[in-house]
Structures are given as C-alpha cells and as structure tokens.
C-alpha cells in the first residue's frame, strides 16, 4: 500500500486544493498516470502516481480548500488501516474550515487578489494602462497576481515578454515617455538588477534632466525580499536600494487593503513608482474595509496603538511585529506598531509623533542592516527628536550575509518575531 500525501509543489506552498481527481476508487493505475490536478499558491499542477496498484480510497474530495502539505490524500493498494487515515484527514479539514469561516460576514481577500483587482480596476478606467512582464499573460502570472487579466483586457494590454529585464524595463520607460502608463512586472525584484540602469538613469532622472518636461508615469512591481529557501540570488530586499535615488517613489505594503489602495495610487501617480510586494504575503488573507479606497502614497499607518515602545516596520515585518506585540502585551508591555506602507517619501512625522509619546524606537526590516531603511530613520529621528529619546534606537534586520539555503541558517539570517521581542525588552531594560 502507498499513501500519497499532499505534496509541496512550490517553495512557498503550505496548503493546496485538489481541483480535480482524474481517477476513481477501484481504478487500476500504473506509475506515471496522472491522479489529480492540484492547485497550489502559484499554479495548477498534475500529481502523478509513483507506484502501480488499485486506488483503494480517495481521502480528500476535490474542491476541499487548503489541505496542508503532508496530509494524506489518496491510498493506492488495498490496506485495512485506510479507515484510520480518513479520520485524520477529516480532522485536518475541519480545522481548516474553522480558519476559513472566521469573520465570514466581512469581505476577506488575499493580497494576491487585491493586487490583481487594483490593476484590473485601473485598467478599466484608463486605456493607456498596460501590463508587461515575464509570464504575466498566458501563464496568468508566475505568482498568479495577473490572473484573469489577459482574458479581460486582451493581448494588446497584457503582454508576455521574453526574459529580457533590461530591455522591457527600458521599453516601459519609452512607452511612458510616449504617453502610456505601463505597469512593468518583475518576476521578482532580484531580476530588476538587470534593469537598474533603466530604472534609475532613465525613469527616475529624466524629469529633472529635462527641466520638468518629461515625466515617466510607470510602476515597476513584483515580489521583493526573501521567499522560502530560494537562497541568496533570489532573496533580497531592494527597499534601501531604490529609496536611495531621487525621482523614485518606493511603496511596500503589508495588508491586502493597502496593497490594493496603494497600487491604485501608484498607477495614478505621474512619477515612477517602485512597488515592492512579498511572495509570502500573496496568499495571506485580510479583511478589507473599503474596497474602493485609494491609499495615498507617503502616509504611514499605526496598526497597533501603544505607549511603551514604537516599533516601525514595513511589508512582511509588520505581521511579525504585530505577533511580537501580542507576546509583549502578555508581559504588560504596550507597543505601538507603525506600518510605513511607503518607504519614500517617508512619513517621518508619524514616527516622530509616536517617538515623542513612547520615547523608545525599534525599527524592523528584512533587508541588510548597512545603509538600510532603519539607518535612515535613525538619522532623522536623532535629528528631529533627539531630546525625546530615553534609550538608543534598536534595529532588527536581516543579517549582513547573502541569504543561506539551509533551513536553519535561513531562519537565523532573517529577522524573526523573537528578535523583535528581544529588541523591545532590551531597550526597555536599558533605561532601568
């Protein structure tokens, strides 16, 4: 007998959905037969049989959402303990259902859907907007962010490119000069390094170099930062790189509402905008307050109010900061968490205001520490709120190393919830 479990079919897949079984109980299968189609966080994949035998039991029916990786889904070969496996599966499923039904009265969408909706809504309003990038059209997006756009807007406006980042980034800049409003997707921002000359020298500087004549209304977007076990060349935060350059706006949302509202704002912005997403957040679901809200660029958000310490974060680090905050609250420590949402222009006023209340500051970012976003915030806070500080400012960042592949080393290299907890405890002890 062999029990087949829900496989991990992408680096970030934690759950999957069996969209269709291609075999029924009692069927004879041979190795290589396709058993099912499984929907992952990125694509629909086929599951093949590894062994020959009879399908004795299908443990999870098609359509059941969010089956955790590792959950038994089908048994091939006769065996009497399959009954037991079914029960296990049922338990797992009911657990998942519980998560799904929480707050079901409110609108809940994933960051992935929010981004797609933002683009679709803006494209419906303005014919000059088009999206271009690798696999954005027929494949529906390497991370499914552009799902359905080709069908709705056609190949004139949803364009698959060759693997040619410098070329299509430059093409986008030229199209923007020519009066269009391109959205250029990088499959990941790591590949934007191939195109960085076009982004900085051509997109960011031309308005200035032309004495204000030639703006470049363009959005460069895609996942930024570490994903999961994809190692050094595919895991890097570019917030600090792009924020360094005048002429660019840099946006990096955490929640689905902000992803949607800020992407809409970025598309409408007449300047080049670097829109940094996070692969690990794509599947995360958030309640949305107002579906049609445009979130202005340059405005941070207090996502949790508190009095003892201010914790500033952006993108995936906001979630980690909020979790740390809950742990700290158990010890009676009240943390104020600021989600920057936009890196540049930086909402320094919001940070200063909060620091004046809490007198202590911890800054979290996934990127490297040297010349990071944290460094810039520290410089500005000491300039504008030096007398309000009761302790040295602390940073929680990625380690100053290329991201390692091994699971344990990767975890050590990336900033974790516990690091935020420790940083907060550390600066509170400092003043005693």
């Amino acid at each position: 007998m062999s029990t087949i479990k829900m496989p991990a079919l992408s680096p970030t897949m934690t759950v999957g959905t069996i969209s269709k079984w291609l075999v029924s109980e009692g069927d004879e299968v041979v190795s290589g037969d396709i058993l099912a189609e499984i929907e992952t966080d990125k694509a629909t994949m086929e599951l093949e049989a590894i062994d020959d035998g009879e399908v004795s039991e299908i443990l999870v029916q098609a359509g059941v959402q969010n089956i955790s990786v590792g959950t038994p889904i089908i048994v091939i070969g006769n065996e009497n303990n399959s009954e037991k496996i079914s029960n296990v599966v049922k338990q797992v499923q009911s657990g998942n259902e519980k998560i799904e039904t929480v707050n079901s009265d409110k609108i809940t969408i994933s960051v992935r859907e929010a981004l797609r909706d933002a683009m679709a809504e803006e494209m419906r309003l303005d014919e000059d907007i088009f999206i271009m990038g690798e696999e954005v059209a027929e494949y529906q997006g390497a991370y499914k962010v552009t799902q359905g756009l080709l069908e709705e807007f056609g190949e004139k406006r949803v364009i698959d490119t060759p693997i040619t980042e410098q070329g299509f980034a430059g093409l986008g800049v030229g199209a923007a000069f020519g009066g269009l409003k391109p959205i250029i997707e990088f499959m990941t921002f790591n590949f934007s390094m191939q195109a960085i000359d076009q982004i900085i020298n051509s997109a960011a500087k031309t308005l200035y170099m032309s004495g204000g004549q030639m703006g470049c209304p363009i959005v460069f977007r895609g996942p930024n930062g570490a994903a999961s076990r994809v190692a050094a060349q595919h895991s890097q935060c570019f917030a600090s790189w792009y924020a360094h350059c005048p002429g660019l706006k840099v946006v990096s949302p955490w929640s689905a509402s902000d992803a949607k509202g800020l992407l809409k704002a970025s598309i409408r912005d007449p300047n080049p905008v670097i829109f940094l997403e996070n692969e690990l957040l794509y599947g995360e679901k958030f309640e949305i307050d107002n579906e049609n809200e445009i979130v202005p660029i340059g405005v941070g958000n207090i996502v949790s109010e508190g009095n003892d310490v201010t914790v500033v974060a952006f993108s995936i680090m906001v979630g980690k900061a909020l979790n740390a905050t809950k742990k700290l609250a158990e010890n009676g420590i009240s943390v104020e968490v600021i989600d920057l949402r936009t890196i540049k222009p930086l909402d320094i006023d919001l940070i200063i205001e909060s620091v004046k209340k809490t007198n202590r500051l911890v800054i979290c970012e996934e990127g490297f520490p040297f010349s990071g976003i944290g460094s810039e915030i520290i410089a500005q806070v000491q300039e504008y709120a030096f007398d309000w500080l009761d302790a040295p400012i602390k940073r929680v960042t990625g380690q100053d190393v290329p991201l390692p592949y091994a699971e344990n080393l990767e975890k050590l290299a990336l900033p974790q919830e516990e690091d935020i907890v420790n940083a907060v405890l550390h600066i509170l002890n400092e003043v005693k």
């Binding site: 070329g167 430059g170 093409l171 000069f177 269009l180 020298n201 004495g211 004549q213």
Partner: protein, 344 residues
C-alpha cells in the same frame, strides 16, 4: 588659395571614381536642396561655435560634437513626417537642430543657463523636446535603444502611424540591451528604424577592434530585421535608405536597421586628442567625402550663385551668433531650481 583647394578636391574625387551628381537621378528640387544645405550648415556652424565656447570655459563637462556626420540626421529627418519620434545618445546637438529645436535653447542648455531646454539642469547630453518629438539626449551608451523601442511601442499601441527613429553609435551595437530591443521590436513588429551611426570609432576604439562580423547592418539578421549599409556622408543615399526604412516600419512590417557609414572630424568629446587615428585619415575624409561640400557643389551645378551661397552662409553664422549671445546673456538657473522637477 580657396580656388586651388577646390581644384584639388575635384581631382581627388575623380581619382576615387565618385561622382556625386551622377549617382542620383532623382535629386530633390532646388528649394529643398537649399533647405538641406542650410540645415547641415547650421549644425556644422553651431557645433564649431560650441567647440569655441567649450574652449572659453562657457560649456563644461562632456561635449560631443557632430561635425562630419550632419548628412545622417538631416537626411533622415527630411524623409520623416511630423509626429515621428527621435531618440539618440549623447552626440545629440545635431539631432535636436534637425528636429527643429531652437538653437538658442540648445546653446543655452550647453552653457547651463535657465533659458536652456532643460533649464540648465541637463546639459549637452540630456535635452528633450516633447513638442518636437525629440526624446533625448541619453548619456548611457545603448540605453536609448530600448527606450526608442518603447516609443515605437506607444506608436503601435495608439496606432498613430508614426515611427520612432532610434539612433545609436557603432560603440553601442555591442551592448546587450540593443539585442533585447531588436528581439522585442521584431517579435512585435514595432515601427522603429534603428539608425546606426558608424563613425568608425567607439570613443577611441576602432570598429574593427570592437565588433566581430563584417557588417553592423547585419546585426539584426538573426531576428529577421532587414538592414542596409548606407553612405552616411552622402545625404541623398541617406534619404533613399531612410525612405525605404521608414516606409517599411510605417507599413507595420517591423523594425529596419540602417548602418550609416559616417565620420566624425573631431574627437569623441572635447577632451579627446584623437591619437587613435592619423591626421591624414581625417583630412582625406574631409576633402573627399564632406557632406556639406558635396552638396555645395551640386548646388553650384544647379546654378545657385556664389552670392546666394555666401548669403546663406552669413545667415547661418548670424543665427549661430544670435544663439550664442542669447545663451551667454541668459542667467544661470535660480538657486531654487535645484530642488524642482524631481517629482511631479
């Protein structure tokens, strides 16, 4: 002195077997010939003045002169239509004048004045005029090529019937992004004409030492892009090839490559002593192939009087002086301009 030089020129021409007049059966009418002559002469005199102002310290930084190559951009521009877009790299003064930009504004930009096209913030290499469909003026070798393809993309997207003329030098043809651009423009049949201005030297390195293969016109072969080698010193050859290429692109057949064999008389930039070539090489081209002198002879054959030619010459000189005076009389940009035009 002048006469004897002329005589020599004629003899040399015979020796090389070139006959400017004989090559062209369809010369444009007199008026148009004069207009072409004026435009080339304007660029020549403008650049000479820019060279002088550089020597006087009124123009700073990098300054790349177009002297010698005038037939390329004037010829191309003369067969394009209003609405076609132009983009080039940093040897761009000639392109701007040929696009109809005001010499006063260009010179004022070269001298870093508030009345310059970029308010003094761009300089020689970074000037633009949306009004005249001139999209720069780009300082990074080859970077203008994908941008040009983007302009062509926008023409195609809007179906406006215009073509982007994307100029690049023989140095730029070895940049990777040029081939990314060839590929995408051919894949999507975008209306773009790549005009390679092969002036034989990419900065100080001759084409033969930098580029494999025989012909730059064939660099698009793998992508199915047709190419032509053109005598870029002869404005009529440029026009004939330009018409063909623009027509091809405008009909939706995709990109076209023109390799313009041309020559710059001056160094790569003002600070280049040009030790990589001999004086006699430069002189030979000047004497035998100069685009302006060639056209002047044709005009003479068309019975344009010496007086008329002299009048044109002094008219152009005076325009250039006006531009230079305008530039030098203009103020430096206001201090507050430092912090404007970074964001809209």
């Amino acid at each position: 002195m002048v006469n004897s030089t002329k005589k020599n020129l004629k003899v040399k021409r015979k020796k090389t077997g070139r006959s400017v007049k004989g090559s062209y059966t369809n010369l444009p009418g007199k008026e148009e010939l004069i207009e072409l002559y004026k435009q080339m002469l304007l660029i020549r005199r403008f650049e000479e003045k820019a060279g002088q102002l550089y020597g006087m310290g009124s123009i700073g930084g990098f300054c790349h002169l177009y002297i010698g190559q005038e037939a390329v951009v004037v010829g191309m521009q003369s067969v394009s239509i209003d609405g076609d877009s132009v983009i080039t790299s940093y040897r761009d003064h000639g392109h701007m004048l040929a696009c109809g930009m005001d010499p006063k504004g260009v010179m004022a930009e070269l001298t870093g004045r508030e009345s310059g096209y970029s308010k003094g913030k761009g300089g020689s290499m970074h000037m633009f005029s949306k009004e005249k469909n001139f999209f720069g003026g780009h300082g990074i070798v080859g970077a203008q090529v994908p941008i040009g393809v983007g302009l062509a993309f926008s023409h195609n997207y809007k179906q406006d019937g215009f073509v982007c003329m994307t100029y690049l030098g023989d140095g730029a043809v070895n940049q990777g992004q040029v081939y990314e651009s060839f590929n995408m423009s051919a894949l999507w049949k975008l209306p773009v004409v790549f005009v390679i201005e092969n002036n034989k030297y990419g900065m100080g390195t001759s084409v033969t030492r930098a580029s494999a293969g025989k012909s730059l016109a064939e660099r698009g072969k793998a992508y199915g892009i047709p190419g032509l080698e053109v005598d870029g010193m002869n404005i009529f050859s440029v026009r004939d090839a330009g018409k063909k290429a623009l027509d091809y692109a405008r009909k939706g057949k995709g990109p076209f490559i023109l390799e313009m064999k041309t020559y710059r008389y001056r160094g790569h930039s003002m600070s280049d002593p040009a030790k990589y070539r001999t004086r006699s090489e430069v002189d030979a081209v000047r004497q035998q192939k100069d685009c302006i002198e060639n056209l002047k002879e044709i005009l003479q054959e068309q019975k344009i009087t010496d007086d008329h030619l002299k009048k044109i010459d002094s008219e152009i000189k005076s325009n250039v002086s006006v531009a230079s005076d305008f530039a030098l009389d203009s103020s430096l940009p206001d201090k507050k301009e430092l912090l404007t035009d970074i964001y809209i």
